[in-house]
Subunit: 313 residues, 2 copies
């Protein structure tokens, strides 16, 4: 199955899958849309975050105003938007939406200990991004923040005069696109509703708020002791000479949770990309080594999975 | 003298005025760039706010990032910008920049009482803007907020993905244009410096901040007992049948303070616009009644001022 709408929200995919469950009957699903730790440290993604994506619109006065004549006397939608968005995180960088963390699974000490085993250099990470410091929820490491913890990020913001130079205007409207990455048990629709109710409730008098949901998706977890992971693991051993490390990833592939629900199938995520591929950034790329290694490794998975699956019937 | 650059910051005017003080020698200056309360309530602007206008740029990672892979783990410049901008006002809507109010002249009870005499309907004001409530610094009326109190407004904000639909990106940079309206004694350059120092100081680790000053200007006050106001007052009596009310305005005409400094001249602001003219907004307009009333009234000012000025020599 080939999906061409993934980066624009896969609006038609769910309907297609639900209407074609018979044709999509399968033993296991393989998707290559993830990465691995390094070319000499193969890994398999065993968890994905879900997503809730919303667009907000703040309306103040019914028209753009002169900031001299009205400045200080009416609610400026941009200032209000910054206040409302800023209030969505507390001083520990936790999301303040009531109920947001209610269903978040807290990992136990042993599970968190596994994160420390994953090869990761904070210094290299910071250097690669030219940042002096990482930033995120207090009490969690960088690897945990970007995989097992839910987030709230503004993906776009706009309002007022954005050309060159200065214009003394108070805009009538201000906008933001906001996405929340979700972890297992946080339901996308439920979180979207929590966001909408909260965001409307914190608006001061003098502005009106509209929240429009964009696409969402559920989180996914697979267990490394399952047949799928074990078969994939054998395949990596054949081509990389070592077993892959199970890693929970921060991205979202909503179709994976949908497949599990509608087709009762587990998905194995055999991806060969690297962090340095700059995905969704300028100069996005994919190495020839990785491309060829994927072509070599995947057939071994077919072979091992078929054998193991037949043996288990 | 005709100035064609006023709405783009008058970058060349100051130099021109300083180099041509001899040619610009005068007894009084008249500018028509203000409004009056209503067609049957003539008024003269006796105060203008100054301005400091800056542009800020927040840089986080050196490139746009995928919000799934990095979300929650690095400082998102847009989220940080909203936090920094939001923190510029406290819970009473006062500006939090240290020193911002140090030189602000507080009006005494009698002066503030005068504001209550100005005909003003809060209901009409709110209805005209379609807002449920006004908004501003605690302890001050709407008329005070937009004239004798300094402000800080975001005039534009942008960053990340602002097209249709959803894109899961963490932007490398976020921007805002911010203007502060100033009152007498607050110096534009000084306030710009206070802003820059403060804004840079509140940035968290993980982002860098650049602040670029745009144009500025000083506030201005004239006294209703001066010759200029009295001569103008007589002119209004002749054409409107009643004396004008002195009103302090929230806008900025930086040249007025510059004229006072370089030419040692007072400026009388005889403007005939109305609040409903929607200046700097769509459908900006100027009434024929007001246009003709200005043409009728101004020559009377020349006559009265000349007579009174010669008598005072």
């Amino acid at each position: 199955m080939i999906e061409g709408e993934e980066e624009v929200g896969s609006d038609n995919l769910e309907t297609f899958v639900r209407e074609n469950t018979d044709k999509l009957d399968n033993d296991v699903i393989l998707i290559s849309d993830t990465g691995m730790l390094a070319n000499d440290i193969p890994s398999i993604t065993t968890g994905l975050r879900g997503m809730s994506y919303v667009e907000v619109e703040i309306t103040g006065p019914n028209r753009d105003l002169h900031s001299g004549l009205y400045g200080g006397a009416v609610a400026n939608p941009i200032n209000i938007l910054t206040k409302m968005v800023a209030s969505l995180h507390d001083e520990n960088n936790r999301v303040t939406i009531p109920g947001f963390y209610d269903k978040v699974e807290e990992l136990n000490a042993a599970e968190r200990e596994q994160f420390k085993q994953i090869p990761f250099s904070l210094e290299n990470y910071q250097n690669a991004l030219d940042i002096e410091s990482v930033y995120g929820e207090k009490g969690y490491s960088t690897l945990e923040r970007k995989s097992i913890r839910p987030t709230l990020d503004v993906n776009g913001i706009w309002g007022g005069y954005i050309g060159e130079g200065a214009k003394t205007v108070i805009a009538s409207k201000a906008y933001a696109k906001i996405s929340m990455r979700l972890v297992p048990n946080q339901k996308s629709e439920e979180i979207t509703k929590l966001f909408m109710d909260h965001f409307v409730s914190i608006a001061p008098k003098g502005v009106t708020v509209k929240v429009t949901p964009h696409h969402g998706g559920e989180a996914y977890v697979m267990h490394p002791d399952g047949l799928e992971f074990q078969a994939a693991s054998k395949a990596y051993v054949e081509t990389f000479g070592k077993a892959p490390i199970p890693v929970r990833d921060g991205g979202s592939i909503p179709i994976v949770a949908l497949f599990e629900e509608t087709l009762q199938s587990k998905t194995v995520l055999m991806g060969f990309g690297l962090d340095s591929d700059a995905i969704h950034s300028p100069n996005e790329h994919f190495g020839v080594f990785n491309f060829l290694k994927g072509i070599e490794t995947i057939p071994h998975f077919y072979k091992h999975f078929t054998t193991m699956h037949q043996a288990s019937q």
